[in-house]
Structures are given as structure tokens and as C-alpha cells.
């Protein structure tokens, strides 16, 4: 069984052996190919009945979430079960500022947001607001450890959703906020509202595909950011906290500060994804931010391999793609697409028993001196054996 779940190891080792330039080369080719997928969809990949571009847009959003959650869970080892709360804060920030249903609508002429650039202007606002939410949640709760932290964050996630549901005068309650702003780009006579509007619904390059491309660009940017953090002092502090918090503290790592950083950065990335969601769907309502989605995001991270930022993107792909692919496939009168939570639940249980580190486990390497240290060590090995 564990051999069956181990194909990731080969890929992992191959990837780790590549040089920096080679990695970049493969990365560019890989992401390029991924970007072209919606235009030239192979028939075995296509999702019958649903726009493939739309599915890929959803994948990009969940991938962003997975990268953010990976910072918190995978790198710093803080189990956050309420991550969907940050996603909600991001989405609601954009929706509250731009939806005509909201009392805080700030679109021109009555507000300061220009109509064409409202969405783009809201993205940094959403990220800042979510980062603040992370700070507000983090300062009191990060003194707790392990399971307790998990439950507090779960409570936080539920509180956010219930607030969205109950504060009807602001959030419009269960009816949700409509007509959220989106980028007005590429307007033409055929598409009066631009390529990102839901009016662009036909063909391969539909609005889903455009959102996917936008998401992919953001993913690359985030990978650079998170990758650099990982290789910095901050990243090393996170790993030390994850492996042994007491030891880290004794070695002089300010654990509280670095945990807070992980929380805030993770939250801001979640907010970014929420802002994308609000723009793409142009509608925000409380049920999207159910706790069960939090668990789904967590399964993306666990499935892909906690701590491995490329692995969790693969996890996100599995989480989004499989249910959509299996939608409409019936076995014994049960629609397989409906069974997504059942499958993911089983996958989590099986994975935890046979391969708790995930499909593409993160490799423990010498972080401080990186490649040069490893090269030195392997050279020493080969000398010793020869």
C-alpha cells in the first residue's frame, strides 16, 4: 500500500536534484502548458457538462488557498481549521465595497472607487483587512498549541460565517451580495463588459479561462514570495517551530512572533483568494464559507504533502478537478460527483495510516546553507566510499 502511494517520491527526488536554472525552465514550460490547457483540452481531461475553464478557475483559487494554508499548517505546523474564515473575510471585503446591495458600497460616483478599476483596487484592501483579521485572531490564540488551536480556529471560522448570516443589514444575510465588481478589461462590441465578465461564457477562452490565467499569474507570484520566505530566516524559524516548539524557543527563536507572521501571511493569501472568488462569481453568500470547505482545503494540503508548496497545488487540483470530472458519472445509481467528501474523507484516513506525509512529502534538507552544503556532504560521501 505504501509503495502504491509513493510515486511522488521519484518525482520529488528528481525535482530536488535539478539546478535552479533547470527548475525555472521546467517551471515556465509546466505553467505554460497548464495555461494552454483550457484552449486545447485533451478529451480525457475535459469535464463534460461544465466549462473546463470554469473548473480551472476554481482550481486556481483553491491552489492559492492551499499555498496560504500551507504556510500556516505545512510550514509553521499550526493546524488551522477555520481557514475558510479568512477566505470569507476577503470575499466579503470586496463584496461590501462594490456590491450595490451593500450599505458600504464605495463605487463612484458616490464613493472613491472608480467603476472600471474597483475590483483591482479592492484586492489589496481585501488582503490588508484579512491580514488584520489574522492578527486579531492570532494575538490571543497563538499562545495555545496543537489541538486547542485547531478548535479555536474552527470556532472563529464558524463565527465569521454566522456573522455574515446574521448581520442582515450589512451583508444582506442569507440572500447574499450581488453584482460584485470584476476587472473591466478587453471590452469590445462582442463583449461589452470585458473578458472577465460572466457575459463571456462561450468558447474556450471564456471568463473562467481568463480568471484561471489571472489566478495562475498570482500563483507564480505567490510561489516566488513563499519560496523566498521559506529559504529565509523566517522559513527556518517556521520549520523549527513545526518540529519542536520548545527547542526552537530555547534556541532563541521568538516563536510567538514567527507564528503570528505565518498566521498573518497565510490569512492575507486566503483573503486574496476570497477576493478572486467574489470577482469571478460576482455573488457572495454565507453557505460558501461553511466549515466543511475549510476541511476540504485542509485535505488539499494534506493530500499534496504538508510543507511542499508545489505538492499542495497538486492537492488543490485533485480536490477541485475530480469532483467536477466525476459529476454525472453514475455507479449503482449514485452520482460519483456527489461522493467527493466521502472520497476525500477516505483518502485522508488511508493516507494518514500509510503515508501521513502526503503524496509529495516535503524533503528535509539543510536549510541554512542549502545546495552548497548538500553538495559538500554528498562529495564527502562519495570520497568515503571510493
Amino acid at each position: 500500500m505504501s509503495v502504491l502511494l509513493a510515486p511522488g517520491d521519484g518525482i520529488r527526488n528528481w525535482w530536488a536534484g535539478l539546478g535552479r536554472v533547470q527548475k525555472w525552465g521546467f517551471g515556465v514550460v509546466g505553467f505554460g502548458a497548464l495555461a494552454l490547457l483550457p484552449l486545447h483540452t485533451p478529451s480525457f481531461l475535459n469535464t463534460p457538462g461544465i466549462s473546463f475553464g470554469g473548473v480551472m478557475a476554481q482550481f486556481a483559487m483553491v491552489a492559492i488557498i492551499a499555498i496560504g494554508l500551507n504556510v500556516v499548517v505545512g510550514q509553521a505546523g499550526l493546524l488551522d481549521l477555520g481557514y475558510v474564515g479568512f477566505y470569507a473575510v476577503g470575499a466579503y471585503t470586496v463584496a461590501l465595497l462594490t456590491s450595490p446591495d451593500s450599505p458600504w458600497n464605495k463605487i463612484a460616483p458616490n464613493g472613491f472607487l472608480p467603476e472600471k478599476w474597483a475590483w483591482l483596487a479592492c484586492v489589496p484592501i481585501a488582503m490588508v483587512v484579512t491580514a488584520l483579521a489574522g492578527l486579531i485572531l492570532g494575538i490571543p490564540t497563538l499562545r495555545l498549541r496543537g489541538d486547542y488551536l485547531a478548535i479555536v480556529t474552527l470556532g472563529f471560522g464558524e463565527i465569521i460565517r454566522l456573522l455574515a448570516d446574521n448581520l442582515g443589514n450589512i451583508t444582506n444575510g442569507p440572500r447574499g451580495l450581488n453584482e460584485v465588481a470584476y476587472p473591466h478589461i478587453g471590452e469590445s462590441t462582442r463583449l461589452p463588459h470585458g473578458v472577465f465578465s460572466s457575459g463571456n461564457s462561450t468558447g474556450h477562452a471564456n471568463y473562467g479561462t481568463w480568471w484561471f490565467w489571472l489566478g495562475l499569474t498570482l500563483i507564480v507570484a505567490l510561489l516566488l514570495l513563499v519560496g523566498n520566505l521559506e529559504r529565509s530566516r523566517v522559513g527556518r524559524a517556521w520549520v523549527s517551530i513545526r518540529e519542536d516548539e520548545d527547542a526552537a524557543e530555547i534556541m532563541g527563536v521568538n516563536t510567538f512572533r514567527f507564528k503570528l507572521w505565518a498566521f498573518v501571511i497565510g490569512a492575507a493569501i486566503g483573503g486574496l483568494s476570497g477576493a478572486m472568488y467574489a470577482g469571478q462569481v460576482q455573488y457572495v453568500a454565507p453557505p460558501t464559507f461553511n466549515i466543511i470547505n475549510s476541511m476540504l482545503f485542509l485535505s488539499a494540503v494534506v493530500l499534496g504533502g504538508q510543507g511542499n508548496k508545489l505538492g499542495v497545488i497538486f492537492g488543490a487540483f485533485v480536490i477541485v478537478y475530480l469532483p467536477n470530472r466525476l459529476l454525472g458519472v453514475e455507479v449503482a445509481g449514485i452520482n460519483l460527483g456527489d461522493l467527493k467528501y466521502l472520497f476525500f474523507g477516505l483518502a485522508l484516513v488511508v493516507l494518514m495510516i500509510f503515508r501521513p506525509q502526503g503524496l509529495f512529502p516535503v524533503r528535509q534538507q539543510l536549510l541554512a546553507y542549502g545546495k552548497s552544503a548538500r553538495a559538500l556532504l554528498t562529495r564527502g560521501d562519495s570520497k568515503a566510499t571510493s
Binding site: L79, L144, G146, I159, L167, G168, I170, L342, G345, V349
Partner: protein
Amino acid sequence: MIHECVGQFACLAGDIGFNVDNLRTGFWQLTIDGLAWGAIYALVAVGYTLVFGVLRLINFAHSEIFMLGMFGAYFCLDMILGFNPSGNAYNRGVGLTILYLGIAMVFAMAVSGLAAVGLEFIAYRPLRRRNARSLTFLITAIGMSFVLQEFVHFVLPKILKGYGGSNAQQPIILVQPKTQFHIFGATVSNITLVIVAAALVLALLTDSAINRTKFGRGIRAVAQDATTATLMGVSRERIIVTTFLIGGLLAGAAAVLYTLRVPQGIIYSGGFLLGIKAFSAAVLGGIGNLRGALLGGLLLGIMENYGQALFGTQWRDVVAFVLLVLVLLVRPTGILGESLGKARA
């Protein structure tokens, strides 16, 4: 539609009420209803607290054990005792109703108990063999929670016609809520009476089982120091199974009491919220501490009711969650302190 709010934050005030009068006039009624809710929370909370005491594990799937208990009770009433779901209450008289309830409860307890032990065997035992990290246990628990919920959601309707699925079961109402007597101007219904009495009996039984029997001593020993307990001849594995069994049995009983109170609540997702609240109750009283769980359950039930009266019905769940967060922040060890082992030597 644009809302009519004068100030930016005037809208907030419209959604959150603060009605002290409501709390004052309904105080005793709220307390008594809260006790009934709290009794149910308390029984479920015991399952969380015992497993945490012995294994240091938050058994996230315990809420699904409770949910299976609800379905077990429904199955018993519907298929074995032959009650059909109809809009009307059966009202078969006190003796018969209690007999039927007792049968349903035994059946539900068996279902939940078996499910809890099965969960232990399938999901947690392999992890213990591999010395997994606590995070691994928690993720497994979440996975099992998904599996059990979705099994009832999509697979059960194919096996048993009319069971599970996206909608709640048609309620079977054994007895109409009826006022029995008054305390301080508050009415006490027959259902409240049954819930509180049954919960009290079960709580006393569990308490004496943990504190007076040989097995209970084993549980406390393992909770205190597993290695030493094993050296003294206590079988840790058997103790763990017993712990899950006790938790499951009580969850099954709580499920029957809950369906008395909320007959339309039998749905695949019906355990989730109650599970989190029961867990909050366990934390409130001091997780790992049996009496703490019982006390925490009652307190949570009552405070939730007060909060609901004060801020408005829709804030009921928020009160519970805020309370959970506050307790964890201010006193993570809860009211009565943490350890099952230290509770009573």
C-alpha cells in the same frame, strides 16, 4: 436594494439586540430549558472528554457517532416498533411511551457504541501502532467525520429506502410536549422531565463506573500514566476500546433525548453543530475531566439560552462559539481542571 442606515455602524446595532428585560422576565424558563439542552450536551461531552483523557485526542468524529445514534433510534421506532412518521403525536400513555423510548434508547446506544468501537479499530488503532503525531490523529478524525456523514448522505438511501439523503427524516413524534408543573412561574414539560431524568441517571451511572469499578480505575490509570499503568498489568488497548464504547453509548442515549426535543433534526449533518457544542462543553468544564464535562454541558446549555434571550435567537450558536474561544483563551484547563487521572485518585 440599498439599506436605510444613517451612520456606517448604525446597521450593526439593528442586527444585534441587547434585551435585558427579555432575560429577566424569562429567567427561570430559560434556565429550565437550558438545563434540558445542557443535559444532552453533557452526555455527548463525556465521550469527548474520556477519549481525550486516555488518548490526548480530540475525537472529531464523535459528532457522527451521535448522528448515527439518531438514525439508529429512528430505525428502531420505524422498522422494529412499527411507528410510522406522521404529523401527529402517538401519545400512548406514560408507561408505554417510556417503554418504547427505553427500547429505542437501548438500540441507539448499541448502534452508537458499535460505531465508536468500529471507528477506533478502523481509524485510530493503525495510527497508534505507527506512533503517529497528534496532528495525524486529528486529520484522520476529520476524514472519518466526512466518511460517516457522506455515507448517510448518499450511500445509505441506496441501501435502506427512505433513510438518509439530503433531507431530514419525517419526524416520528411519540409524545406531545405537555406542561407537567410549574417552578418559579416557569413551565416544566414532560419532555424536559424525561431528558433531565434520563441524563441524570446515565451521568450518575457513568460517574460511578469511572470512579468505583475496576475498569474505571483502569481508565483513570491509563489517563494518568499509560506506561506505568501497562506495567501494572492494565491492558491499554482494552481500556481504550472501553473508553470509546462508553462514549458511544452515551452519545446514542443523548441522540434519543435530542430527537425527543427536536424530532425533525434527524439528518446526516445533524451531529456537526451539536458535536462542536458538546466539545465546547467539555473544554468549559475542563477536558479530560468527567465531572467537568457534565458541569460544562449544563452550564453551556443554560448560558446559550441566556445569550439567545439577550441578543436574539439567531445569535444562539455564536454565543456557544464565543464562549468556547473565550474559555480557551482565559482558562484552557476549564473550570474543574484538566486531568481525568488527577480528578480522583
